[in-house]
């Protein structure tokens, strides 16, 4: 479904020194430099696969996604998606794909999502009856009801994201490019979106390429992951192999009743942060239960939260340690 061979993207960016002198120099003699965002990336994704695309900020994930859906022309290499060259953006190709960007929206801000859905149905040539059926099915899956008839500006971030997903999937695309679809959502909304994507993939057999900062998104949805760093592809394979490398530790955040010292926390994992009553520890997965029990036993805990550390931190650590 997706074939990428030797894909590269080089941007030319302007360079300007700060201050008035820098501005004047930039005005008289504009300096630019080439920045390689993606370098010689190759992979294949089969129909129906759900693939996670991992990388720190600026690693080249979004640039790659944009080249795959045709928004950006590659500087070098070949891309085929659903049998089309994306950069030609033929209508037939556009009907078969969708791109969802967590922070960019296509819904009309002042109108209910239903109005935008009607426009999308017309633009994609979906008959009214089919559109109504699909909207109902997708809305049920996403647990959207009367939100579809409320102005978008009145919806919560989670409701808006779900409505965006509905709008992006109304034409039943075969290929989904999802760029941080759960960014900024609360834990419940994230879980709901994840369930929805898994169900959509199961029902339609759509191919999904997903970037996310949340490890939970990737572990829940993607048996296979691509790891990109500084524009190069470093890993293409099963998630388990990478997950052990990526996140051997979990993050424990504590809010205590009273301040403690670093010595008090010795032997309870790696201390990442200690500011008054706020503590952040990294604890090996196999010791997590025991360490949490000890923490609750030894300290007056006001709040405790266990999460995976942010992906860029994990990936950064991985590269710093030379493990990739």
């Amino acid at each position: 479904m997706i074939q990428v061979e030797g894909l590269s993207k080089i941007y030319r960016v302007a360079e300007k020194q700060p201050g008035l002198a820098g501005t004047l120099r930039h005005f008289i003699r504009r300096r630019t430099r080439d920045v390689t965002a993606v370098q010689d990336v190759s992979f294949r994704i089969e129909p129906g696969e759900m693939v996670g695309f991992l990388g720190a900020n600026g690693a080249g994930k979004t640039t790659t996604l944009k080249m795959l859906c045709g928004l950006i022309h590659p500087s070098a290499g070949e891309v085929q998606v659903a049998g089309h060259r994306p950069q030609r953006r033929q209508a037939e190709f556009l009907r078969r794909i969708t791109l969802v960007m967590g922070q960019k929206q296509q819904l009309l801000w002042d109108l209910p999502p239903m109005d935008s859905l009607r426009v999308n149905a017309a633009v994609y040539g979906i008959p009214d009856a089919v559109a109504r059926r699909r909207i109902k099915e997708l809305a049920d899956l996403l647990e959207l009801g009367e939100e579809l008839t409320r102005p978008v500006r009145k919806l919560s971030l989670g409701q808006r994201m779900k409505a965006e997903l509905l709008a992006a999937l109304l034409h039943e695309p075969e290929v989904l490019f999802l760029d941080e679809p759960t960014l900024g959502l609360d834990v419940n909304a994230q879980a709901r979106v994840r369930q929805f994507l898994a169900e959509y993939n199961r029902r339609t057999g759509a191919t999904v390429l997903l970037t996310s900062h949340y490890m939970a998104d990737i572990t829940a949805l993607c048996p296979r992951v691509l790891l990109i760093h500084q524009g190069r592809l470093f890993h293409d394979g099963p998630l388990e192999a990478l997950a052990d490398q990526l996140a051997p530790e979990r993050e424990v955040r504590l809010e205590l009743e009273s301040p403690v010292s670093a010595d008090d926390l010795a032997g309870l994992g790696r201390l990442e942060q200690l500011e008054g009553c706020d503590v952040r520890l990294l604890v090996p997965r196999d010791q997590l239960t025991a360490v949490v029990a000890q923490l609750l036993d030894r300290f007056p805990v006001r709040d405790l939260d266990v999460t995976d550390p942010p992906i860029e931190e994990l990936i950064g650590g991985l590269f710093r340690q030379g493990r990739v």
Binding site: Y11, R12, A37, T63, K66, C69, G70, L71, I72, H73, Q87, R89, A91, L94, R95, I97, T98, L99, M101, Q103, K104, Q105, Q106, L108, D110, L111, D115, S116, R118, V119, N120, A121, A122, V123, Y124, P151
Partner: protein, 265 residues
């Protein structure tokens, strides 16, 4: 069947949604309508001036000309460059580029929705004008009204294409709207908003007729006001400008999208 990516259903749904969208901004649009009273200000300036005789229009004809200029302006105002610039900067353009419909159609629909929202406010202002100057009241013939309506639509098309040409420069410069401001002064003088073209010296009048500006206000306003006008030459010029601008817009747009794609969306 789709023509330029459009079919009847898309037109109906796009217009409906954009009209509903614009109705949310009705208070703002009412103020925009009110802010377009420049022709009335110019009417009062000309009415009190000795130079009025040079216009070749008597009191009532002058009233009707400036009211017509106001109405034509109300339904040919174009702001695509500002909307497009904002969409490009905020990244809203990307989803539009990934749909099988040329993004410019959305802006056309938004303008038409805005015109429909503006209609009652423009009518109200016209009613107030007639209440103040009852001697100027007139009803154009059906034929005259339809011709004026057509000329106003063509004026809108020219203005839209002209500004889309500038908007497409947003692909190269993020602040292409500055260029739009540059053409505002010649538009103001040569379109007939400040004075009918008959007020201009003959040389300037001939020069103006080689620009698109007189066909944006003066020509449709004269038809609406029932004043003598060369219909064939006027409509011919309007169509010629559209025939010139349309391929330019499409070409520049295509080149711009290629550049946008090359630089990163």
């Amino acid at each position: 069947m789709r023509i330029f990516g459009l079919n009847r259903r898309i037109i109906r749904v796009l217009l409906g949604s954009q009209y509903a969208h614009m109705l949310e901004y009705r208070a703002e649009i009412a103020l925009w309508a009110l802010s377009g009273v420049l022709p009335f200000i110019m009417l009062s300036v000309w009415s009190g001036s000795d130079a009025r005789s040079g216009l070749g229009l008597d009191g009532v004809a002058l009233d009707r000309y400036f009211l017509s200029a106001f109405l034509v302006r109300q339904f040919s105002v174009v702001w695509v460059v500002y909307a497009f610039e904002e969409d490009a900067l905020l990244g809203r353009l990307s989803p539009y580029l990934l749909q099988p419909l040329h993004p410019l159609w959305r802006y056309v629909a938004a303008h038409l929705g805005e015109q429909l929202t503006r209609l009652p406010f423009a009518a109200l202002i016209a009613a107030v004008f007639f209440a103040v100057r009852p001697q100027a009241f007139w009803l154009p013939s059906l034929g005259g009204f339809l011709l004026a309506w057509l000329a106003t639509w063509l004026a809108f098309a020219i203005a839209f294409l002209f500004q889309s040409l500038i908007a497409a420069l947003c692909f190269w410069s993020e602040k292409a709207s500055a260029l739009e401001r540059l053409q505002f002064i010649p538009f103001l003088f040569l379109s007939g908003l400040l004075a009918p073209l008959t007020a201009f010296p003959p040389v300037l009048r001939v020069l103006a007729q080689w620009t698109p500006f007189p066909y944006l206000i003066d020509f449709p306003a004269r038809i609406l006001a029932g004043q003598p006008v060369d219909l064939l030459a006027g409509f011919g010029a309007q169509l010629a400008w559209i025939a010139l601008l349309l391929p330019l817009v499409l070409l520049l747009w295509r080149a711009g999208v290629r550049r946008y794609s090359a630089m990163g969306a």
